[in-house]
């Protein structure tokens, strides 16, 4: 059962032909060519496949491609057209990541948090990234970067 669908990915309109069993994560990676959402646990536990769907984080491993028909997907490639966002720059400055596999998901989770709550507490940050597993850092440098970005003022996620 082939289905035609349209989806906006990082500001670009895409017309895709998919099967109902195509998952959004694989479709983004193989058909659209966006590689930042990572294939991790593939059951919603690890957060490495996180994308923004209409502005809110979802697990792209648990969304069928056809469910994104008519919607807007943003990955870290599309957060900012001119390089890094200020939030991302804080992650760089504070050396928040090591291997970086979790980074796309965590950057998007943090961006969603700061959009909705520009001055979060440390606990707010912990809750926001609670579903994003990082096996390298112990999370402290990640949380520090999000709080530093918040303290630098305003919405600095886009």
């Amino acid at each position: 059962m082939r289905m035609d669908m349209s989806v906006t990915v990082n500001g670009e309109p895409w017309l895709l032909t998919v099967e109902p069993n195509d998952v959004l994560l694989e479709t983004l990676r193989s058909k659209v060519g966006v590689k930042s959402p990572k294939i991790g646990c593939e059951r919603g536990d690890c957060g490495s496949c996180t994308v923004l769907l209409d502005g809110h984080t979802v697990r792209s491993c648990l969304v069928l491609a056809v469910e994104a028909d008519g919607h807007e997907v943003i990955t870290i490639e599309g957060l900012h057209q001119g390089g890094l966002t200020e939030l991302q720059q804080f992650f760089v400055d504070l050396n928040s990541f090591q291997c970086g596999f979790c980074a796309p998901g965590i950057v998007l989770a943090a961006a969603e948090l700061l959009e909705e709550k520009p001055q979060p507490t440390r606990e707010d940050v912990q809750v926001a990234i609670g579903g994003n597993l990082c096996r390298c850092t112990g999370y402290d440098p990640i949380i520090d970067a999000v709080l530093a970005a918040a303290n630098a003022g305003g919405k600095r996620t886009r």
């Binding site: 059962m1 593939e42 059951r43 919603g44 648990l62 469910e67 609670g130």
Partner: protein, 296 residues
């Protein structure tokens, strides 16, 4: 790994259309809302439908409605919607306390409360909370609308009273009259993403007609009627709480699995009942911990 099995997909725009699709289809059909359980089960081949009916384009199912003496939660209302609802926080704060424990933000943005009870895994967080509130599940199907009390909803692990031709439209949750305190206590290995190892929901009305329900410690979420009968109308003295804790072993039948042993689940359920009762009565009397406080 992609989804290996093949199935069709339909996206009705109205409830009538959706019901007609379900009625016309003779094979295994699954209703798709948030998909956080269903897509994982499709990948695992735990289910093998030949058709998915995506209800997300049906208007009106995403509403939280004030019905006066009750709040109605539409079948597309997500846990994030519930957490962001001032109406819910002010009138049914237990629903918000429970919602905050489900998965992670990325799951809560997609997962629906109705999907949670339709998946009906024994550890489903909405189950115990809807049980203590006496919620009613509203469905439509080819033979018309039904109202199913939540106590008659859960038939076994991943089994409900919903028939294959039916769709849940909403869950109606009565708001207790004259104020109340409540608590949802949940045990898991870590915060963010883990299923409950055990859970208990408590409703404490002003007349102390307590309601108690457990999750993840039997084939379905269940009301603890012997404990409720013991506590009925009484002040929460330490001796009474100890008697209630001693009854937990008669109410629940936990199993050992990869998340916890049955012995651990039983002992912790006793402790969780104690803490939940104290928190619920504290909240009823205005000096309990604020809703959302982790009691474990």
């Amino acid at each position: 790994m992609t989804i290996a099995q093949v199935f069709d997909y339909q996206r009705p725009e109205t409830l009538d259309e959706a019901v007609q699709i379900l009625a016309a289809h003779s094979g295994d059909v699954r209703v798709l809302a948030g998909g956080t359980d269903l897509v994982a089960w499709l990948r695992d081949e735990a289910v093998a439908p030949d058709l998915l009916v995506d209800i997300k384009h049906i208007e009106g199912l995403d509403q939280i409605a004030d019905e006066g003496d009750a709040l109605a939660i539409g079948s597309l209302v997500t846990f994030t919607d519930l957490l962001n609802s001032d109406l819910m926080a002010s009138r049914l704060p237990l629903i918000c306390e429970m919602s905050a424990t489900v998965g992670s933000t990325g799951i809560r943005n997609r997962a629906t409360l109705v999907g949670n009870i339709c998946s009906a895994v024994p550890s489903c967080d909405a189950g115990p909370v809807l049980l203590v509130h006496g919620a009613v599940v509203h469905t439509v199907g080819t033979s018309g609308a039904r109202r199913i009390p939540i106590e008659e909803w859960f038939l076994g692990p991943r089994m409900t009273a919903l028939t294959p031709d039916e769709i849940v439209t909403k869950v109606v949750v009565p708001v207790p009259v004259g104020g109340h305190g409540a608590a949802y206590v949940r045990l898991s290995r870590y915060e963010g993403e883990d299923l409950a190892q055990a859970s208990v929901a408590i409703l404490a009305p002003p007349d102390h007609g307590f309601r108690v329900a457990f999750g993840a410690v039997a084939a379905t979420p269940l009301r603890a009627r012997r404990i409720e009968a013991l506590l009925e109308g009484k002040a929460l003295a330490p001796g009474l709480v100890a008697e209630a804790m001693a009854l937990v072993a008669e109410e629940i039948s936990p199993i050992s699995d990869m998340r916890a042993s049955k012995e651990y689940r039983l002992r912790m359920s006793e402790v969780m009942l104690q803490r939940g009762l104290q928190a619920a009565v504290g909240r009823l009397e205005g000096d309990g911990p604020s809703y959302g406080t982790n009691l474990m």
